[in-house]
């Protein structure tokens, strides 16, 4: 099973290289939002690949029983699922907090009054102020509800 362990090691090194690229982008990109973009995306992908590499490495270890392999792989998969789900959430929350603090310059909410006077609204040329959505959902208090 040396091939499986070596494949796992190569995938782990690939994930580490992607993390290195993200760390380099953290230093070299010009402003905050670009750094969030580069850092968060490469963070998620690098962590996912690194843990996949560790899973392949464990599958190739011969001196473990199947139960021990299953336990280690279960823990690794739970770490991977957690990082894959929560790392984009953290990135989005951070970017939104910085945007509402006014870091975005022209598009930040401090200038919302100017945005409303533009002919197309916040949502684009067909703005909701001109074409409001008509409610078609019947409320439960009206007639015709379930009995």
């Amino acid at each position: 099973m040396m091939m499986l362990q070596i494949t796992g090691g190569i995938v782990l090194l690939l994930g580490t290289v992607i993390c290195l690229i993200g760390g380099l982008g953290l230093l070299r990109l010009p402003n905050f939002f670009a750094r969030t973009h580069g850092g968060s995306i490469t963070d998620t992908l690098g962590a996912g690949l690194a843990i996949l590499g560790m899973v392949l490495y464990t599958l190739g270890m011969e001196d473990l029983t199947t139960l021990e392999q299953f336990l280690v792989i279960a823990k690794l998969i739970s770490i991977a699922v957690f990082i894959l789900v929560t790392s984009p959430i953290s990135g989005h929350a951070l970017t939104r907090a910085a945007f509402e603090a006014g870091l975005g310059g022209e598009g930040s909410p401090a200038n919302l009054q100017e945005i409303e006077t533009i002919s197309h609204g916040v949502y684009g040329p067909a703005s909701l102020q001109e074409n409001p959505i008509e409610e078609t959902v019947a409320s439960p208090l009206q007639e015709g509800s379930h009995d």
Binding site: I6, L12, T16, L20, T36, L76, A98, A101, L103
Partner: protein, 122 residues
């Protein structure tokens, strides 16, 4: 006491082992790849720390600390494989949870108070 990586592996697999100080050329290729991944993750953590020191805004520092935490999780996992202790993965899982919750708590705090009120420039 000179402790090398082979000594770490020997100490992990049998707690009574006293051989420390084996040379670094006696590693197999798997352990060399794990060691290279260790150094790569450590270097990325250093880069994140540089951004945490340099960052002109406080949100740069929060981003750098978030990245540092995720790399710590990976580092604990790889060290667990190097030292033959699968219990390190529990520690990695706990740290992943703590990292996420702490970032969300700091950002929720920024709703109530201005995070950058002591800074000179944004």
């Amino acid at each position: 006491m000179k402790l090398s990586i082979s000594g770490l592996i020997a100490a992990g697999s049998s707690p009574d082992a006293t051989e420390v100080g084996a040379s670094i050329t006696s590693l197999s290729i798997n352990e060399m790849m794990l060691l290279a991944a260790c150094f790569g993750i450590l270097f990325t953590m250093t880069l994140a720390l540089v951004r945490a020191v340099l960052g002109p805004t406080v949100y740069d520092r929060i981003l750098a600390v978030n990245m540092f935490g995720t790399k710590t999780v990976l580092f604990i996992g790889v060290v667990g494989f190097l030292s033959n202790r699968p219990a390190f993965l529990d520690i990695a899982l706990v740290y992943a949870l703590m990292n996420f919750i702490s970032i969300i708590a700091v950002l929720r705090f920024s709703d109530f108070a201005d995070l950058s009120e002591n800074e000179v420039s944004k």
